[in-house]
């Protein structure tokens, strides 16, 4: 039985792994229990700052700490990081401060918190910022590993995590192979490649199994890093498979699908189908039911894969 896990727990564990580095400091905006930075707070209160519900200030205080030699890890809900977007742009990304933002509760899968809390644009907006690394891991142990790897970055990052539990994708061996900026191939097949991030990685794996039963062999990639996009891998898969599908719990505009579309259009046009939120806001509901309603689960990935294959020249 595959363990059910939430990627946000990996963030909390990753911070604990980093605690021996005394330059690591944690910033919270009254949501540490939700983002899981509370674990670090319990053990290292002297290196944890509670900023109250003031996200803009959190971004700038983090910039000041980074310019003084610290490695700030600041978290809140994905949607509330966006409230400090201009502070991230001018205060963090522009001077290239190594501040690491974590936005939890991203995507429609956030569920009953409703549309106001379901960021479906975070990956897109942070991807537009020079110097930023943008990530969206799929389970707890990959999030933990990537959080630890973030600490070595010399520039800023944004990482989205998810609230709800889903089957774990990785194991100790695959986690050890993870690198920021490199897609992780989970399964290989020649007919079409599915590039997914976050909770849709599991959906893509389910889709791949069902397609295989119909004789369609599929590559599945955990594209945990949206920026820098693993362009070498995407171009190789475009050449090998001749058709791609992206899948993300995010707007089809500007996120993983947008990034892959830009790369393909400029370098190696092949059929691409994008599974994502189709330029609409979500609503309150059960996470899995929302994925179904908004066209984001394995059934839709299968349909998209068949369309992409049918479009091959």
């Amino acid at each position: 039985m595959t363990a059910l896990v939430a990627s946000r727990d990996g963030y909390g564990e990753g911070l604990m792994q980093l605690a021996d580095d005394e330059r690591v400091v944690v910033l919270e905006a009254d949501l540490g229990k939700s983002t899981k930075s509370c674990r670090f707070r319990e053990m290292y209160p002297e290196r944890t700052f509670s900023l109250g519900i003031s996200e803009q200030n959190m971004m700038l205080v983090a910039a000041g700490l980074a310019s003084s030699g610290y490695k700030p890890f600041a978290s809140t809900f994905a949607i509330f990081t966006e409230r400090g977007f201009e502070q991230v742009r001018n205060g963090i990304a522009r001077p290239n401060h190594a501040v690491h933002l974590c936005g939890s509760h991203g995507g429609l899968h956030t569920g009953t918190d409703g549309s106001s809390a379901q960021s479906i644009e975070d990956l897109a907006i942070y991807r537009t910022l020079p110097n930023m690394t943008v990530m969206h891991p799929c389970d707890d142990i990959s999030t933990e590993r990537l959080t630890v790897l973030l600490s070595a970055l010399s520039g800023p990052s944004y990482m989205r995590t998810a609230r709800n539990k889903r089957p774990r994708i990785h194991d100790d061996e695959s986690v050890a192979a993870l690198r920021i900026g490199k897609g992780h191939v989970l399964r290989e097949g020649i007919d079409v490649a599915l590039l997914a991030c976050g909770v849709l990685v599991g959906e893509a794996m389910t889709a791949a199994e069902e397609l295989s039963r119909d004789g369609i062999e599929v590559t599945v990639v955990d594209m945990h890093t949206i920026k820098p996009l693993d362009s070498a891998l995407v171009q190789r898969l475009a050449a090998d498979c001749g058709a791609l599908v992206t899948a993300e719990d995010h707007s089809i505009i500007g996120g993983l699908g947008g990034a892959v579309a830009e790369l393909l259009a400029a370098n190696c046009p092949v059929p691409l189908e994008r599974v994502g939120v189709n330029d609409t806001f979500g609503e309150s509901g059960d996470g899995d039911e929302l994925l179904e309603k908004y066209g984001l689960n394995s059934d839709y990935i299968i349909a998209a894969a068949r369309r992409a294959i049918a479009r091959k020249a």
Partner: protein, 273 residues
Amino acid sequence: MNSDGLEAVSLRLRRRILETSHAARIPHLGSCLSCVDLLVCLYWDILEIDSSRPDAPDRDRFVLSKGHAAPALFQVLAERDFYPKERLAAFGVNGSVFHEHPPAPAHLPGVEAATGSLGHGMPMALGMALAARMTGRSYRCYALISDGECNEGTIWEAAMLAAAQAVDNLCVVVDFNGWQATGRSREVMRIDPLEDKWEAFGWHVVMIDGHDFSAMAGAFEACAATRGQPSVVIAHTVKGKGVSFMEDDNNWHYRTPNEDELRLALEELQDHR
């Protein structure tokens, strides 16, 4: 340095700021002239800094939160030998670091933060002050904001946090010149009573004349001696200070002087002592 000496420095810097504004067509002249005395007091009398060691871990930090006064800061840093004055000849030239706002710190010694977007520098200075406390260093952090900048929410978010954290190595200076981009501050949006607001937020407040050097030095020393709470110096200043036809005239927020205006202004700024 005594007040006469500081006034002579200020006169010299005012002349250079005007010359640069004219030559490179750099705006925000009024904003530079209102805060130049505050900068001179801080950089000559208050800040523990050493231009030969601009990255020294124990240096005091000064953040120009009202980043549009960078032309004044650039002159101050040159005069304090952070870089040769000759470099300022490249003001406004493409590829130069000397433009309307401060560059990222990596690009110019003495600059602590790339500001220009209002409301950013003060929270950054607060982050620096928290860092000092964590590392056990005794440096102090200063942020110069404007009265118009107090419209920004981040100023008050940071004000709450600094008081909640009892950050007493932070001193905010308000260059209260009574004007902002499009009009009188109190007409754009009334923020009075500013002193009461800061007090209510838990800050030690000192009100002074921002062109009186002995008052300024006394205020900064009182702030440095304050324990358990952050300090704010509300400095009443005159926008365009030092040039009769620029004083309290907001046209000089964006205007730059033509040749005749420059000549008249420089005549007023001669040191006759």
